[in-house]
């Protein structure tokens, strides 16, 4: 199925929670989803026979700049049985960054969500084990945010080199 057709299917099923289809940017077109509905949409994409998105290729957080008020979470899905791809995008406000987890749908999302939490501070509601994965547990701040200021010292060691 083409991304346009998948978008049509999702609009028919979920109505207003599917917020739009972004084809303006060069590259992959993406379907914008309301963050609260992301888990339901993903569940539907996996379970429907004509779609069957059985693999989550990549889950990434994006911060476009200091002036932006939202983080985007981008899901790259692929179906091995039907051989088609789709990109989903959800935007959450920076001041209150949380959205439902998809780790019960794809097991690989478990670590990918932990990584996104670790580097962006985005909370995934319903994740069973949301803790830092790449950085030490006592690290302060979320490095991939554009307004991140690196600390001068970490446990007495100089951080900037």
């Amino acid at each position: 199925m083409k991304p346009e057709e998948i978008y049509e299917t999702l609009v028919n099923k979920f109505g207003e929670t599917v917020q739009g289809f972004d084809t303006e940017l060069v590259g992959d077109p993406s379907i914008l989803i309301a963050p609260s509905a992301i888990a339901d949409v993903c569940q539907y994409l996996v379970e429907t026979d004509t779609l069957r998105f059985d693999s989550l290729m990549c889950l990434s957080g994006v911060d476009l700049g200091v002036k932006e008020e939202v983080f985007s979470i981008v899901y790259h899905l692929h179906s091995i049985s039907h051989r088609h791809n789709v990109v989903l995008k959800a935007s959450v406000p920076k001041t209150d960054a949380y959205l439902p987890t998809v780790s019960h749908i794809w097991k690989t999302a478990d670590w990918h969500e932990r990584e996104t939490y670790d580097l962006y501070g985005i909370l995934f509601e319903g994740h069973t084990d949301l803790r830092r994965i790449l950085l030490p547990d006592d690290w302060e701040g979320y490095p991939l945010r554009k307004d991140y200021q690196e600390p001068d010292f970490y446990r007495g060691m100089r951080v900037p080199y």
């Binding site: 060069v26 290729m57 990549c58 670590w111």
Partner: protein, 401 residues
């Protein structure tokens, strides 16, 4: 007095199990292939839970990338999977090139000669990577000799890489728009002929060696006992955990990006995709450690096949670098994945039209495969953990990025 003694003896009878013991394996354990720490909760020799702790090699590649221009990022990708650095360079360059090609206002194509050189070098690099995986896996299980055999042959490959780009491990050879010209290989020159002859010499030497390796380790009864029917990963589990490459094919799924979503010039070559099958006469089942290992052994033969086809055709004439004034992809975003030796290597790039990216995410195949370890190892013996880690073939530089 008598009554207390009775209760105490009852308590002892009611607790026939041993205490759970917590063992830290790593981060400096030689058989964890880098700095991986496993927190093992053991009941005797049975593993109740193996919790991986990663991040000891975290360099924040993604943060660095946001402050560098696109060509400057390529050396950082070298350090991701340092055993197959050519493929990492290529994965990143392919993503940037695809984004640049999506801009219809500018014309841009990678020269033919560069494409051939890329496939040639990356397939040789795949052999080098699988050789390391084969050698260290043997050593993990307790066979020291395969390691020496593998490194002896890998050394010849590293010398070939050194001749073409000057480095043995971190190559920075594949650039956006072509390949590096630091050591020129003029079309039709004696240097080019010598180089190709040398590769052919290596292939003639190496091809029979694969069978020798198989005799040495694959069919070895101790090795088979340690790896067959151990940690079986069913197909659904492999897909759900995002296992890719040899790990996915080891679970019996016929999927290879080089054939199913051909990029570069892979559609011109004829090669097979090895997929695991049940082998009742040996005792192997689809998805066990042995199947994952065997896929890599078979893939080396396929890589040899591809390289031989390139040598038979010869390298086309022409430049090795596209005529690029600046690497400046348009405003947009792309996710591109390629088949690296350890699986599907994806790069997600968000560009705002400036020479520096806004966001680069490396989707590492080892990161996803390693997350399956916790479920795979539940209820097995401690010694099997080593067999699993070796069979999913991880490189920590890529997991931690």
């Amino acid at each position: 007095m008598e009554s207390t003694q009775q209760t105490e003896s009852k308590i002892i009878e009611l607790k026939p199990f041993t205490d759970e013991m917590i063992v830290n394996m790593g981060p400096q354990h030689p058989s964890t292939h880098g700095v991986l720490r496993l927190e093992l909760r053991l009941d005797g020799e049975i593993v109740r839970e193996a919790i991986p702790h990663i991040g000891y090699l975290h360099r924040c590649f993604e943060k660095h990338s946001e402050n560098l221009s696109y060509p400057q990022i390529i050396p950082f990708t070298d350090r991701m999977d340092y055993v197959a650095a050519m493929n990492q360079n290529w994965g990143f360059c392919l993503a940037v090139e695809k984004l640049m090609a999506a801009d219809e206002t500018k014309e841009f194509a990678v020269p033919e000669r560069a494409e051939y050189l890329r496939v040639l070098i990356c397939e040789l690099n795949r052999i080098a990577s699988h050789l390391l995986s084969f050698g260290t896996y043997g050593m993990d299980i307790g066979a020291f000799t395969p390691f020496l055999y593998a490194f002896r042959d890998r050394e010849r490959l590293l010398l070939l890489f050194e001749k073409i780009c000057g480095a043995r491990l971190t190559y920075n050879y594949i650039r956006i728009g072509g390949v590096s010209e630091i050591i020129p290989l003029e079309p039709g020159s004696i240097a080019e002929q010598n180089y190709l002859d040398e590769i052919e010499g290596f292939l003639d030497y190496f091809e029979p060696k694969i069978d020798e390796f198989n005799d040495l380790l694959t069919a070895n009864s101790i090795f088979s006992e340690r790896t067959m029917r151990v940690a079986v990963m069913p197909a659904e589990m492999a897909i759900s955990y995002g296992a890719t490459g040899p790990n996915l094919r080891g679970s019996g799924i016929d999927w290879d990006l080089r054939r199913d979503e051909p990029y570069s010039i892979y559609d011109r070559f004829d090669f097979d995709v090895p997929v695991a099958k049940d082998i009742p006469e040996l005792g192997a089942v689809v998805g066990d450690c042995w199947s994952r290992y065997k896929i890599r052994m078979d893939e080396m033969k396929e890589s040899v096949k591809i390289v031989r086809q390139i040598l038979a055709e010869g390298l086309p004439d022409g430049p090795v670098m596209a005529d690029l004034k600046a690497v400046r992809p348009p405003k947009g975003e792309i996710y591109f994945r390629s088949e690296a030796p350890r699986g599907e290597l994806g790069f997600y790039i968000v560009s705002d039209g400036t020479p520096k990216p806004v966001r680069v995410k490396g989707r590492s195949p080892c990161f996803s495969a390693l997350s399956a370890l916790q479920e795979l190892s539940r209820g097995l013996m401690v010694a099997d953990i080593i067999a699993i880690i070796g069979s999913i073939d991880i490189v920590m530089g890529e997991v931690d990025r």
